[in-house]
């Protein structure tokens, strides 16, 4: 090793620490990546290889059969169409539920922060309680309500459940964000002649990008990954992918196909991963926009 300490004033001790630091970071990264790695390599092996090899041994050849089986022909309960129809179901639930709950949260936050009315703080406190109610508590009353509304076992029913449950969180996000917007902005717009929705649409929403992205990431992840509401309130045709995944893993004819299970699990997790990768960029962009002073 060369001694670089002369110019940089770094001692040998500093170097040791640096190496140790990177070692710890690498170990931590490996620790968190390990399960995913196991899933990935298992999904690429065939059943025979899984039985004979060990958990971490690499596949002899890349074999995507399990992926196509998981997608289109694996059996989930009595049907054998893979998880693709349920994957679509999840999108049909998640997209409207995320959009509606985000929009409602934005309007709620706008009112609570910028159009304070008598009791608005109490209203907000009451809404916050919604963040602390465990899912299980509302299962029975919600089933009853969905029955009354005539949307039990339907996609709309699940959208409804997720919107109701999500509004508490989305309102909290938007309310806290809008607290930092000066109330004078709304006053100025009112004097300029703009009404409630015009101010919201023309002035408040355009500056809300960061919090919209945060809310969408949060809501998308929550709703996509939900299993309990999905299993409790969906009909046979409207099951989300999480429920289908469970059924796929629990349905076996003969030997357990770990490779198909793993492939299905990764497919089910891909959209949330994509949202993080894709929206994360906009998130950072949203945070820095306007922060640059001329």
């Amino acid at each position: 090793m060369h001694n670089q300490a002369i110019g940089r004033k770094t001692s040998a001790m500093d170097k040791v620490w640096r190496v140790a630091l990177y070692a710890v970071l690498l170990i931590a990264a490996a620790f968190y990546l390990m399960p995913f790695l196991v899933m990935l390599i298992t999904s690429l092996k065939d059943v025979e290889e899984i039985r004979t090899g060990n958990l971490l041994s690499l596949p002899a050849s890349l074999n995507f059969d399990s992926w196509s089986k998981a997608w289109s022909s694996a059996c989930t309960g009595s049907s054998c169409e893979g998880i693709s129809p349920f994957f679509m179901n999840s999108f049909l639930i998640v997209i409207p539920a995320v959009l509606i709950s985000t929009l409602l949260g934005a309007i709620n936050g706008y009112v609570i922060s910028l159009w304070k009315f008598r009791g608005s703080d109490l209203f907000f406190a009451a809404l916050l309680v919604g963040c602390f109610i465990p899912f299980q508590v509302i299962l029975l009353p919600m089933a009853q309500t969905l029955g009354w509304l005539g949307i039990a076992n339907t996609t709309s029913g699940l959208v409804f459940v997720h919107v109701v449950y999500g509004v508490a969180f989305t309102t909290l996000f938007f309310r806290n964000f809008y607290q930092s917007i000066p109330g004078e902005l709304v006053k100025a717009a009112r004097l300029d002649g703009a009404g409630f929705f015009t101010i919201f649409y023309r002035i408040i929403l355009p500056v809300s990008t960061p919090i919209i992205v945060v809310t969408i990431i949060w809501q998308f992840t929550q709703i996509w990954n939900d299993f309990l509401f999905g299993v409790a309130f969906s009909g046979f045709d409207t099951q989300p992918v999480t429920v289908a995944l469970n059924n796929l893993v629990n349905t076996s004819f003969g030997g357990k196909e770990y490779n198909v299970d793993m492939a299905a699990a990764i497919i089910a997790a891909l959209p949330t991963l994509a949202v993080y990768v894709f929206a994360g960029k906009y998130f950072v962009r949203g945070l820095t926009a306007g922060a640059v002073k001329g």
Partner: protein
């Protein structure tokens, strides 16, 4: 342009009364300043005029039209806010034209109006920028441009200069005054800065605890304050309040002034003090009325020269403030910087009581009105 009448306006939050019956009336084209310490209700009154807050009682008339229950957008007023409240997502041009757009003014007219305002305020080169790319002074101009674009009947300014640094504040102050001269608009302007109030106003309303203490021209308020609060609030450095005993000399009430020697000061309205002989009152005397002996004033009525001991001097360039003590009260005197006043020395000072005022010691009530 329009006149403004505020008729017995009261505002209550629960049981606390923020405005306790405000009566102010200004003519079209007048520049009214609401001034007072924080919490005096001046911003609440401003918001009430704008219609952003409802009043509990009373009436507000703009251009002889009762607008007490009219919504803000229909009052035909514009407001400049302390934080400027520029729309952060819009360019300067959009900021200025937004109000016109909301009032459904055609696009061509809007463009013409934006150009006019931009030229007036010299912000034509900034029209494409976003508020975040502007300096404090530029934002201030854009905020004023937004108000000017609609040509409203009444302009409201809510502490528009308090976010600027000292130098820029003085510049913008002059700018606003020029603009008012040029456009002859009716303006209501809130500030807590008494110098801003003195320099800008046609009339000043001094407020405290939800009440108007005095409404008058800057000179009236400066020379003839209605009570101890107004006298102490307006003027910098503040008016001196000297506790003095009223004594009788040759049948005329005089004011006793004790330093190393004791003299009797004459008072311009002695009759007002007749009932107070033998009692102690507060004599109000502005610092510029206590100076070094000036030969041309010698022998004038109400001029008295006596010895004082210098405690501290504060040279300000144009004048030097001399801090001294009379009747056991600290007082500020304004002297020529050339006058020899070393701390600790006994020097001669000239007290000119021609513009002196008298207050009740307990209530702060003016005694000689």
């Amino acid at each position: 342009m329009a006149n403004l009448v505020i008729d017995n306006v009261k505002k209550r939050y629960g049981t606390t009364e923020i405005l306790k019956g405000i009566n102010i009336s200004i003519k079209a084209g007048e520049f009214l300043i609401l001034v007072g310490p924080s919490g005096c209700g001046k911003s609440t009154l401003m918001n009430s005029i704008a219609g952003l807050e409802d009043v509990s009682e009373g009436r507000i008339l703009i251009a002889d039209k009762d607008v007490t229950y009219t919504s803000p957008k229909d009052r035909d007023i514009a407001m400049v806010f302390q934080s400027y409240a520029l729309y952060p997502n819009m360019t300067v041009e959009k900021n200025i034209s937004f109000g016109l757009e909301m009032r459904k003014v055609p696009k061509e007219e809007r463009e013409v109006e934006v150009q006019r305002v931009a030229e007036l305020l010299q912000i034509s080169h900034l029209l494409d920028r976003k508020p975040a790319q502007l300096s404090g002074g530029q934002r201030q101009r854009v905020a004023m441009g937004r108000a000017l674009a609609r040509r409203p009947q009444l302009y409201l300014f809510d502490e528009p200069l308090s976010n600027l640094d000292a130098k820029l504040r003085v510049e913008m102050r002059t700018e606003i005054k020029k603009l008012h001269k040029k456009l002859g608009t009716t303006i209501v302007y809130v500030t807590h800065d008494q110098i801003e109030a003195m320099t800008l106003a046609d009339r000043i309303a001094v407020m405290k605890d939800g009440e108007v203490q005095q409404l008058g021209t800057p000179q009236e308020i400066y020379d003839n304050p209605a009570n101890l609060f107004v006298a102490g609030f307006m003027g910098s450095p503040a008016m001196n309040f000297i506790p003095t005993k009223v004594i009788e000399q040759n049948g005329i009430p005089m004011l006793e002034l004790a330093t190393s020697t004791t003299v009797a000061l004459p008072f311009p309205r002695p009759d007002a003090l007749k009932d107070h002989i033998g009692k102690t009152i507060l004599l109000g005397l502005r610092p510029e009325m206590i100076t070094e002996p000036q030969p041309h004033k010698e022998g004038q009525p109400f001029v008295t020269t006596t010895d004082v001991e210098v405690e501290v001097t504060e040279p300000m360039g144009a004048d030097t403030m001399i801090l001294t003590r009379v009747n056991d009260a600290e007082i500020n005197c304004r002297s020529n910087p050339m006058y020899d006043a070393e701390p600790g020395a006994i020097i001669k000072m000239m007290f000119d009581t021609a513009k002196a005022v008298a207050f009740d010691k307990e209530s702060g009530r003016r005694l000689d009105l």
